[in-house]
């Protein structure tokens, strides 16, 4: 495995973006950083600036108003970048499915690399999702 790829796998920095979630998913993403779960084990850090991040973690249904901002943040991230959709309503709209102000899933707005199901998913499930994404990248 070449060293650049290795480095990428070992250092996934996250940017968390809430597109209109009910907060439950957000607090679970945040919880994944805290002592019991400690995502930093995998080298993951939560970054505030999109310019520094590798993985965009999106929670919540994509509302019309937030779409432009989401695109802007996505574009501000340097390549290579990955997108993880956390929670049912980010994946497909979930309980807000079909509502007039909500897009039917994140993948209709930006390309998505991994989905984590749950409403909200346990922090372990989020970790599992991140690890699965890294494993997939390792293979590719």
């Amino acid at each position: 495995m070449n060293i650049v790829k290795w480095a990428r796998l070992k250092s996934p920095w996250l940017l968390h973006f809430n597109t209109g979630a009910c907060n439950a998913c957000d607090i679970e993403v945040l919880a994944a950083l805290t002592p019991r779960y400690d995502l930093e084990r995998f080298g993951a850090l939560l970054k505030a600036s999109p310019r520094h991040a590798d993985v965009l973690v999106v929670t919540g249904p994509v509302t019309r108003q937030v779409k432009d901002r989401l695109l802007r943040v996505y574009n501000q991230m340097p390549d290579p970048k990955f997108v993880v959709a956390v929670g049912t309503c980010c994946i497909s709209g979930g309980v807000f499915n079909g509502c007039y102000n909500v897009y039917p899933g994140l993948d209709s707005v930006i390309p998505v690399d991994a989905y984590i199901f749950g409403c909200p998913p346990k922090p372990e499930a989020i970790i599992n999702g991140v690890v699965a994404l890294l494993k997939k990248l390792e293979g590719s």
């Binding site: 019309r64 108003q65 909500v102 209709s108």
Partner: protein
């Protein structure tokens, strides 16, 4: 002051202008005629001490719009008044309780009720580019083409 005392006090003060009262445990619903709306609110806030506006609900009921401020911290007094939909105007209560401001702006946004005397009746809920004169919560809100979400992006 219990529920019945409140409605009695109001009845004795405003007489026929109190159209209907309904009470249940710590809830008072009073129907009043529009012309005493502000006086009733002022009386409730200043004399009876219901100085907290919980919220103001607006409902479209056919030809009328029902405006319902909910007042109080212990017992909730819901004052109901009907205004005509063609001329939806009501005097503001922000001069009595400044905290009612956001609720009146919200109702102005979604039902088009003009609160006369409100210092800053601007958009709070609807986006900046929402067309004037379109009020989403009215029942006669006529639709244009519904656009399925998928084609929008």
């Amino acid at each position: 002051m219990n529920e019945n005392e409140i409605s009695e006090a109001l009845k004795s003060k405003f007489g026929n202008n109190i159209l209907e009262t309904k009470t249940s445990k710590r809830r008072v619903f009073i129907n009043i005629s529009t012309k005493v709306y502000k006086d009733v609110i002022r009386y409730l806030v200043e004399e009876l001490g219901f100085n907290h506006v919980q919220t103001i609900t607006g409902v479209d009921v056919g030809n009328f719009i029902e405006i319902m401020p909910h007042l109080g911290r212990g017992v909730t007094v819901t004052v109901k008044t009907r205004i005509e939909k063609n001329r939806p105007a009501l005097s503001t209560i922000t001069d009595i309780v400044p905290g009612a401001s956001v609720h009146e702006r919200e109702i102005h946004d979604i039902l088009g009720v003009v609160f006369e005397g409100h210092p800053n009746l601007t958009r709070i809920i609807l986006p900046e580019n929402w067309p004037e004169g379109v009020y989403p919560l009215r029942k006669d809100y006529t639709p244009e083409q519904p656009v399925p979400m998928k084609e929008v992006s």
